[in-house]
Structures are given as structure tokens and as C-alpha cells.
């Protein structure tokens, strides 16, 4: 702002000379300043900068003995410093090169040398810790203390968030273990099947049912050729076929990657079960399109029925259906076999 014509003589004189801070004012405004005289010797050091050099006599030393100016480069003598008036600086303290400070070079008028106003920069947390700096070591309008507050608050919050995430992850795993549904196909999973089969076989001799073990053929080559997304689509399509070919009271479960178990309630008629198995294979062999790809699979099936057992046992039934399934595989896949106890 230009001096106004309405100013008093006293104000005009003060304005012409510019403000004179005094040494104490300098300390308060810039607690980390260094005042370097015209000969390059240090005339004054701010109280916080002095705190970073415990017990050290700084005043009277040459500035270049006390610190190394890393940037701007090439400052050796006083005229170099004065020539960089207004430049941002980066310095290291020679006696403790761990301490890296940033600052501003201000050339003073009337041959008074220069002020180097320094600040901790990014290393502030280490400096505060190492030299036990306090609120009053920073100018009240300096946001350093607020920054330390925020860093500490954010660290505490981050820790809390991390432990929340861990707890949620643990809860998720526990929930998945307890789940009864296969998330990909929406069918029952192995756990659910075990529970339901135990209930069905507990019904004693009265309960009639057929149990089918279905294993998709050529599924691996779909995955290998067309990718996992195509594989997932094929599994979902197969699941839909199983659901459509059974009734609501039947159990359809996915028990492994490409393995399924079907329990057909109130049905131990082998002719009916074979008809269902044949239909399932026929439908699975229809080409399944995914994106631009055409996927072809089939299935091998092993079936057993409750009437073969006096006391049907879930593990026994599954095992026998499995034996029948492997007979289907041995017979060249894409077929069904009824378990025979002989």
C-alpha cells in the first residue's frame, strides 16, 4: 500500500523506514531464525533453533560452519546469500546432520546481513520427540501443534479402523463357515447336505429316497480354455438344470468344485431315478454359451437308493453312490450307474 497523503509526519517517517521488529519480536515471530551479519557471522539465533543445539554457543560462529546450505546450491560467501533474497532453502546442521530444516532467505536492508528463517518441515515429529519441543516453542500462529494433534488423532483412528477391519474379517470367516449356501450357485453346500442327510437317514426304514452323485465331465477344460468366468457360468447353468429336474422337497447340493449331490425324496424307484439321470445328462450336454464361447460338458452319475439298506447311513450312502459314479467314469463318462451291493 502506498503512503497516504493524509498520514501524519510521524506515521510517514515510520512508514518510510519500514517496521523495526526488534530482537524479541524476531524471536516471537520466527523462533527458529538465524540472523547472519554482513561478515557472515551469526549475530542471533531464535530460541527454538537454539533448543535443537543443546549447550552449543552459536552466536559468533560463521554461518557456514554451523550449517550446510543444501539448496540453493553454491552459497559460500555472504554475497551469495544476499543474492538469493526470497529463495527457499534447505539446510542441515553440521553438528547433527540428521536435523534437516527448510527455510527462507531474507536479505536485510542497510548492510544488516540476512535472516534465515528456518522450520522443521516434514521431519517435525522426530524433532519434537528428540528435543522435547513444546507449544511455546512454536509461534502461536504456526499450525505445527495442530498438525501434531491431527497426526496423533489420525494414527489412533487408523489403529481403531484396522482392528475393526480385523474383527469384521474374523466375523465374516465365521459366518461363511456357518453358512449353508454355496455362494456361486445358490445351492446347498456340503455342510447343509450333511445336516439334511443326517435328518433324512434318522427317519429310519420308513423314509424312501434316492441319492445321486453327479460329477461334471470336461469341466476342467472349460475352465482352462475359456477362463474361470466361463467356468462359473457353466456351474450356474448346471445348478439351474438340477433344480429344474427335481422337486422342491428334494435336496440339491454342490459338494465340491464340479461335484453335486441330489437327494430325491420319497423315490426309490430305480427306473424313475435312471430316467432323471438320463435327462440331466441330456440337458447338460446342450452347448452352453458364454460371451463368444461355446462350452460343452457332460456328466457322470452314480445312484443309490435307501431300500438297499436296513439302516441307511449317510456316509455309507455317499460312499456307495461314489463307487457307482466311478463305474460311470470307467465306462467312458457321460452315463449313469446304479450302485449294486454285489
Amino acid at each position: 500500500m502506498a503512503a497516504r497523503s493524509g498520514m501524519s509526519a510521524t506515521n510517514r517517517r515510520a512508514y518510510r523506514n519500514g517496521p523495526v521488529l526488534g530482537k524479541i519480536g524476531l524471536d516471537r515471530l520466527m523462533p527458529m531464525h538465524l540472523w547472519v551479519g554482513p561478515t557472515g557471522h551469526i549475530l542471533r539465533v531464535g530460541p527454538t533453533l537454539q533448543k535443537l543445539c543443546p549447550g552449543m554457543a552459536i552466536v559468533g560462529r560463521r554461518m557456514t560452519e554451523f550449517l550446510e546450505i543444501r539448496r540453493p546450491r553454491g552459497i559460500q560467501l555472504m554475497p551469495d546469500l544476499l543474492a538469493r533474497d526470497g529463495a527457499a532453502a534447505q539446510v542441515l546442521l553440521r553438528h547433527d546432520p540428521q536435523v534437516s530444516l527448510k527455510g527462507l532467505i531474507i536479505a536485510l536492508p542497510r548492510d544488516q546481513g540476512a535472516i534465515l528463517n528456518l522450520a522443521p518441515g516434514i521431519s517435525v515429529t522426530e524433532l519434537v520427540q528428540k528435543f522435547d519441543l513444546k507449544n511455546k516453542d512454536f509461534a502461536p500462529n504456526d499450525p505445527t501443534v495442530e498438525m501434531l494433534y491431527l497426526i496423533e488423532a489420525q494414527t489412533a483412528i487408523l489403529e481403531e479402523s484396522k482392528s475393526l477391519n480385523n474383527r469384521l474379517q474374523v466375523a465374516r470367516v465365521a459366518a461363511e463357515e456357518q453358512a449353508f449356501t454355496d455362494t456361486l450357485t445358490g445351492l446347498k453346500n456340503r455342510r447343509a447336505l450333511d445336516h439334511l442327510l443326517a435328518r433324512v437317514t434318522d427317519g429310519g426304514e420308513g423314509r424312501k429316497f434316492g441319492l445321486m452323485h453327479v460329477d461334471l465331465d470336461y469341466f476342467k477344460s472349460v475352465n482352462d480354455t475359456h477362463g474361470h468366468a466361463a467356468g462359473d457360468h457353466v456351474l450356474q447353468t448346471a445348478a439351474r438344470i438340477f433344480v429344474q429336474e427335481t422337486r422342491a422337497e428334494d435336496i440339491v447340493a454342490r459338494t465340491g468344485g464340479d461335484e453335486f449331490v441330489l437327494v430325491l425324496m420319497n423315490c426309490d424307484n430305480t427306473a424313475t431315478l435312471n430316467r432323471i439321470a438320463a435327462r440331466i445328462i441330456e440337458r447338460l450336454e446342450q452347448p452352453i454359451r458364454f460371451g463368444g464361447a461355446t462350452c460343452r460338458i457332460s456328466a457322470s452319475i452314480g445312484t443309490t437308493v435307501s431300500s438297499l439298506y436296513r439302516n441307511p447311513d449317510a456316509a455309507q450312502l455317499c460312499n456307495d453312490a461314489d463307487i457307482a459314479l466311478y463305474q460311470s467314469k470307467d465306462r467312458g463318462r457321460a452315463c449313469f450307474t446304479l450302485f449294486s451291493p454285489d
Binding site: D132, L148, I151, I157, E160
Partner: protein, 197 residues
């Protein structure tokens, strides 16, 4: 209500009365769970049900219980964060009191979305203050009183506090009259800017 408050109530009751009492209180309150997450937000009705059940089971009045929870928040040795963040307010209890004007801004800067009371300090004569406390959430002024009392101890200051609850149609408007009798009454608890992680 931010889960921090709910979680503080949970920790206070579990630590002082045992987890059986805490789970019993949650059952009485009918909230259907007994673990609060400090980083989640809960409906206000939940904390009200819990506090109601806690007062009934522990045979305590709400204000007394909340004041103790406030004190607990600052003095818990395993959770130094609250105490430390408050101590950033100033080097003396007097400076700390003046920093309360900015506490809501500071707190929401650190944790956006935090619902926090508005505080305003009025200094009358030297050492005599009135703290005005405003919050839409009703009935939590005593919690702030407990925090204030514990912070005076933390600074080693001898203070006399008098809490007068009040309300208008926006929520609670409480007054706490504060007489700072001696700011150097006892040894302050250790605090340095750099000791946090």
C-alpha cells in the same frame, strides 16, 4: 450416536462391574447384542436403552454414572489417546479451558462425521469462567463434566465445578461454572507433544 460413546459405556461397565453385568444390562435393554464398535455409528435410542438398563441394574442416577464415564475416558491407562488429544489444547489448565471453544472443530477435523457438542467459554474475572455446553443429544452434559474434572486433575489444577443442566428447543444448553482456585495445586501428569506414536 458415535460408537466411541457407546463403546466407552461398554468398557466402563465391563471394567468396573464385570462382563456378566454388562451382558445382563444389554439383555435388559433388549438391544440384541453386547459389543459396540467404536468406529461405527448407532441409533440414539440404543444408548438410551443401555443407559436406562445400566442405571436400573447398578442403582445409580444417570448424571452420576455419566460423570464417572467421562472421568474414566480420560484416566483409563490403556486408552491414553483421549487424554493426550485434549492436552494438546494448552500447557496450562487455563489455556486448556480456552481451547474448548475450538474443540468441536478440532474433533470433527480429526474424525469427520463425529457428532460433538458445541462448547463456549466465557471468562468473567481472572480464574472465574462459565462453560456453555450445547448439544442436540439430550442428557449428556454430565459426561462432559466428568471429562473436565479429570482434565483438571491431569493438569494438577484445583478447580471448583458446578453443573446446571438446561435446555431449549434445539437441545441441551448446560452451564458449568468453573472456579480455578490453583493451577499448580498438584503435580501434572506427564505430557509432551512428541510422546504419541
Amino acid at each position: 450416536m458415535h460408537g466411541l460413546v457407546n463403546r466407552s459405556v461398554q468398557s466402563f461397565i465391563s471394567d468396573n462391574h464385570g462382563t456378566d453385568v454388562w451382558t445382563g444390562i444389554c439383555r435388559d435393554a433388549g438391544i440384541g447384542f453386547d459389543q459396540f464398535e467404536p468406529m461405527l455409528t448407532y441409533e440414539s435410542e440404543i444408548i438410551e436403552s443401555v443407559l436406562g438398563a445400566a442405571c436400573a441394574r447398578l442403582k445409580r442416577n444417570r448424571a452420576g454414572l455419566l460423570e464417572d464415564i467421562g472421568t474414566y475416558l480420560v484416566t483409563r491407562p490403556d486408552l491414553d489417546a483421549v487424554r493426550r488429544l485434549l492436552r494438546f489444547g494448552g500447557e496450562t489448565f487455563g489455556e486448556f479451558l480456552h481451547s474448548l471453544d475450538d474443540l468441536r472443530d478440532r474433533a470433527t477435523l480429526a474424525l469427520p462425521g463425529l457428532d460433538f457438542p458445541e462448547l463456549e467459554l466465557r471468562e468473567h474475572t481472572h480464574g472465574n469462567y462459565t462453560l456453555i455446553y450445547r448439544w442436540e443429544q439430550r442428557g449428556f452434559g454430565a459426561l462432559a463434566l466428568g471429562i473436565l474434572r479429570a482434565m483438571a486433575d491431569d493438569y494438577g489444577a484445583l478447580v471448583f465445578l458446578d453443573h446446571t443442566p438446561g435446555r431449549d428447543d434445539t437441545g441441551d444448553v448446560d452451564q458449568v461454572s468453573i472456579r480455578l482456585l490453583d493451577s499448580d495445586f498438584a503435580q501434572a501428569r506427564e505430557f509432551t507433544l512428541g510422546q504419541g506414536r
